[in-house]
Symmetry: C2
């Protein structure tokens, strides 16, 4: 009977359709072409690309494919094709992606996507639809490309209770920050270089203002805590105000500056969730990942911290993530299973997002002033009025009396009090630019 | 229909038995007790501990359990119990573990183990038996405790083709080496401290000689390459010959010393596999994991390198790994699937282990001599005769003329030539101790 079973599996074929042939779509198909032996050896059955859907691609662009595939410009023909088992959606646009997802799931197709916005904004809807239709969802490619963090949470650490997840979830900003640190260059210079190297878009807003990381932390919070969270409720702050001098001060404190996306449990079944630049200890794993990589720290209540580091973007790394979902779903098809927990949880809890600023935090406060007597006295008076203790005052040699940076580190205080004090300071007549407040990240 | 389906699942219960109540067994049951809500929320069904099997435990030792469980001293009663779905084997002894595995699988139970030796030595047998019986195997806890590396390879990166896997797979030795580096203390002092802290056994041989890491790299090679490998064919070298001075020289070269377990593809469908101390660049992720942790670098041909860092041992972290397998298997039970690829591959390829010493490597060679004129000339002559180029000669200020260490770094050469030259040097009359050869790890 074993032999018969194996025989049957060897003869079966799982059929795949890819919608969208941009960078990730092309990367996915290329990885499939090159790894098909490996993948079929894992599966014990054939995995065949049946249909490609793209508005622009033509047959002769695909001469490198091993087998001919059907090409169509209409995604409806793909999702309605009874010969397709798994639909891979890589179109980018969230409205189109949602329509494809709905139609594919309705037609009983398993659904794999790399669209972080789709999953962050409509994840619950997809889960409910997939559960009703008895199909699987694959979302590994939505967060940290080639780094298998979704699987680590959903399966690898399925016995864990997570207290928090922290991550460097955007390679563009990590490249910029680590280059500023390494070379001592300014933000603009590092950004320009990132653009030249293809790590940053011509319009970098989505990355440098933290919006990309915000979608990703929303997804991570959902799979870590089983709690979908409204993306727009997550406070976000980008890296455009970080200056070279902040790294000099950070090093004096044995820290560095990183854009951290975080989600952590708070008392009362709440979750605090944020994207912001923070002071990170140089001994932390999150400080040690240089360049355009992603790094995620999963804080478990029993297993300690598990850190995953790897490529966060790019056609082929993301293609590997897409295909990993495809292989897992193909295995389930072969073994006759139907997935009941598409994103790892059978029962979801609506999240209560903790109000920002309630927690205590130590903080780094960088002021840039036009030098004159009495500055420190004025600043210290404001802090004293808000009952905030100064831990240290740091001043590096300055180049200009008109733009003199200095730094205060503040003892742990409720952040909303610090915010009020900083707003007051910003109105002082000698401030040459708005104060920069960076909390010290409390990482395990 | 959806509602009915969900209703049915909510009412179902998956029953678990744990055999062996040592550190890991107790840790597993404790984590299950504390995380049962989380786990059941993930599963959508109850997960109930039905039976505990231990030779020593008594009922009143288990007063902290939420529900009463059956306790038995005879594992046969556990595996023959028709009410048990999943058998967790944590007995330690490999002969007993194998008998339990065979019996449990024969009885149609899903089987989870933390026994690295069982899986490294009898993995193929377990896979064949599990496939024939249509049951699942869980082995996450065998390698790197709380770090979900098996799932990362088997599912999270199932679309990847791995070129290599490198790891710090033994927390004891990593603790000793990183303490020697951090504090400048000797091997014996660091070992004694590790023993006091519970990181090392009273008899540390299994860890410090690399045998523990060897079982683990055998398992990683199996799941990375789909190629079972005979454990005893893997060359192994421990850390007992590393001295404080090696870290001083390593730092001058911007490297450090780590015990690396590695497996990498070689031409001709071969795999080179080893456990040995190596020179590791301080910028490598493997150099940045301090203390008793594990760190694994998966080198993919398309997705780049993915690094996982986390706790490698301990009752509760390992318990998390065991339970993660249990949760995944319980999900499969609920969804009615049978596993066809118990360790991730449907088709296995017998491995050809590459002969050691065939590859080229740059190397660090530390000699300790009784100082006299002409030493360097004699050493250099031996190297020249073996056509090995010296890259640099380093000498730190020495404390004793009778025990004078100095270091040669060698340009990339076939390692077997270096080995011959080193054997010749060892016979020189002025050698105060055997030469120490550490290859420079070629990590991505």
């Amino acid at each position: 009977m074993t032999n018969n079973k194996r025989q049957r599996k060897k003869e079966s074929v799982v059929h795949l359709a890819v919608i969208g042939m941009g960078t990730v779509g092309t990367g996915t198909v290329r990885v499939l072409e090159e790894h098909h032996r490996e993948i079929e050896s894992r599966l014990g059955c054939r995995l065949e690309l049946k249909t490609l859907c793209s508005r622009s691609i033509r047959k002769h662009d695909l001469s490198w494919l091993r087998h001919p595939v059907e090409i169509t410009h209409d995604w409806r023909r793909v999702v309605e094709n009874p010969g397709v088992d798994i639909v891979v959606e890589l179109v980018g646009d969230v409205k189109a992606a949602r329509a494809i997802a709905q139609a594919a799931i309705r037609e009983g197709k398993h659904f794999v996507t790399a669209n972080k916005r789709l999953v962050a904004e409509h994840g619950m809807e997809l889960v409910e639809r997939a559960r009703a239709a008895g199909v699987s969802l694959g979302i590994e490619a939505c967060v940290a490309g080639g780094t298998p963090v979704i699987h680590a949470i959903r399966e690898g650490l399925a016995g864990e209770h997570f207290d928090a997840v922290y991550g460097i979830l955007n390679g563009t900003t990590n490249y910029i920050l680590t280059e500023m640190e390494r070379r001592g260059c300014g933000y603009q210079e590092a950004l320009t270089e990132a653009q030249q190297k293809g790590y940053a878009e011509p319009d970098p807003t989505f990355d440098v203002e933290g919006f990309d990381a915000r979608y990703k932390i929303a997804i991570l919070a959902m799979v870590c805590f089983g709690q979908p969270v409204a993306v727009e409720s997550i406070p976000v702050e980008g890296i455009t105000r970080i200056e070279t001098v902040d790294f000099a001060y950070a090093h004096r404190l044995d820290h560095t500056v990183r854009l951290i996306a975080g989600a952590r449990r708070r008392p009362g079944d709440k979750v605090e969730i944020f994207v912001r630049p923070m002071m990170v200890s140089r001994s932390s794993q999150l400080a040690k990942a240089p360049g355009p990589v992603n790094c995620i720290m999963l804080v478990g209540s029993k297993g300690g911290s598990t850190v995953l580091t790897g490529r966060g973007a790019g056609g082929e790394p993301t293609g590997v993530a897409v295909l990993s979902d495809v292989v897992e779903i193909a295995r389930a098809i072969v073994s006759g299973s139907s997935t009941s927990t598409p994103l790892g949880y059978a029962n979801w809890h609506p999240v209560k997002v903790a109000r920002a600023g309630q927690g205590e935090t130590a903080a780094y406060l960088r002021l840039v002033v036009r030098d004159r007597p009495g500055i420190l006295a004025r600043v210290a008076a404001i802090l004293a009025r808000h009952r905030i203790n100064i831990d240290s005052v740091l001043q590096e040699p300055a180049h200009s009396k008109h733009r003199l940076p200095f730094v205060l580190t503040l003892e742990p205080t409720r952040e909303k009090h610090i915010t009020l004090a900083v707003a007051e300071m910003a109105r002082l007549p000698f401030m040459a630019m708005p104060p920069l407040l960076l909390p010290f990240a409390q990482l395990p």
